[in-house]
Symmetry: C2
């Protein structure tokens, strides 16, 4: 499985994805699920993927190949985030149609869910959740975050903390706690975590990978665990 | 959907169930999912159900009808909790077999998951999770709690707090917080909550129903929400 979160806040955007893939419990691997398309100063786009890994890699490859051809519509030439979401949605649709052709009986799920967020010069930052059918929805001030994959364990803490005015630093902390809760309760989600923060109008993503022994993550995890237990003791 | 939790702790047993059922979002109703078979001083048994409501009611009706006939094996005459789990498992199996006969194409899920816990004089308290197939597993010191229904939202807090030595009071608080997290994040789980605590060798269940405006639950909910946010602010 997978766990990915993305947020569209007043201050900017936040993206995080785990890196574990599994086809059954005896076939576990590490794959990056965060893909960046950036031209500093002009556009910063991030894709997070959850679902069939073959579909995910095929979609990303198509998007990258297209990006080589300047005369084709691609993620570097498209004029708006809405256009980018359409391009990604269409690509998902084509790939799934090709994979599933004549395979309707196999019961294989070729589906792919994508979170696409970013900013293109001239627009505000935007965030979309794109479905396996290629259609999509956009995050708003009322609903500033989307999750895909193994979403339930880490949802309560987001529901309690995150709103449109949450700062990027707070959002990062909250995201990491949401990942900690998910990783503790579900084996199919695992470290390292890929994280990207984006400040509005900066056109420069701050990307990092948090490894198993990341000092800040361990401190955060311990402080939160202890804090929760303390808090629990103090309840009426 | 449904959310039910049961725990087998050193001090005794804990049971909780929400009361919302839904067949689509436009068909929501309130049904009790906690069923008690008790003979004070001799045996205290609790069943929590999650799954097909028709199957659940049919299984409970069969168990109640059988309990009227003293010559038949029933939940008041069975000599051990293991025997009780077998009886419930067999009943589930029979009911599902009858319902699904000739219905394999309909795609209806007749399945029922049950948590059965309690104590029969001469034994220690025991807790079982019974599957739709009628087979079951028992809680141990290593894994002292079971959940059925919409289990994921409320699992992280149980994983962080509950172990075999948790007191009944702490277990109650933790259970209610686990319900609060689930109810906040998922519309298909709703108040009131049926709660039962059982102290080892007491042979007397303490049963209560927490309504939407239950004062203690509201205080707990608010204290926990505020505490979490405070805790969050203090993180590194």
């Amino acid at each position: 499985m997978t766990y990915c979160v993305a947020m569209r806040l007043r201050a900017g955007l936040v993206f995080a994805a785990d890196t574990r893939t599994n086809a059954g419990v005896d076939h576990i691997a590490t794959f990056c699920k965060m893909h960046v398309f950036e031209r500093r100063g002009e556009r910063s786009l991030v894709l997070l993927t959850s679902g069939n890994l073959a579909t995910a890699q095929c979609v990303i490859s198509h998007l990258c190949e297209r990006a080589q051809h300047e005369d084709e519509l691609n993620l570097y030439s498209v004029g708006s985030m809405f256009g980018a979401a359409q391009l990604v949605g269409d690509t998902i649709n084509e790939v799934i149609e090709r994979s599933s052709h004549g395979q309707h009986i196999g019961g294989v799920d070729f589906g792919l869910n994508v979170l696409l967020g970013g900013q293109i010069a001239g627009e505000r930052p935007r965030l979309f959740q794109i479905y396996p059918q290629g259609n999509f929805i956009e995050a708003t001030e009322d609903t500033p975050y989307f999750q895909i994959g193994e979403v339930k364990y880490g949802k309560p803490i987001l529901d309690r903390i995150i709103n449109f005015d949450t700062s990027l630093d707070h959002a990062k902390k909250c995201t990491l706690i949401s990942f900690d809760s998910t990783i503790r309760s579900n084996l199919s989600v695992g470290m390292p975590i890929d994280y990207a923060g984006y400040e509005e109008d900066s056109f420069e993503l701050k990307i990092e990978r948090l490894l198993e022994n990341d000092e800040y993550f361990l401190r955060l995890r311990q402080a939160w665990g202890n804090g929760l237990r303390q808090q629990f003791e103090q309840l009426p």
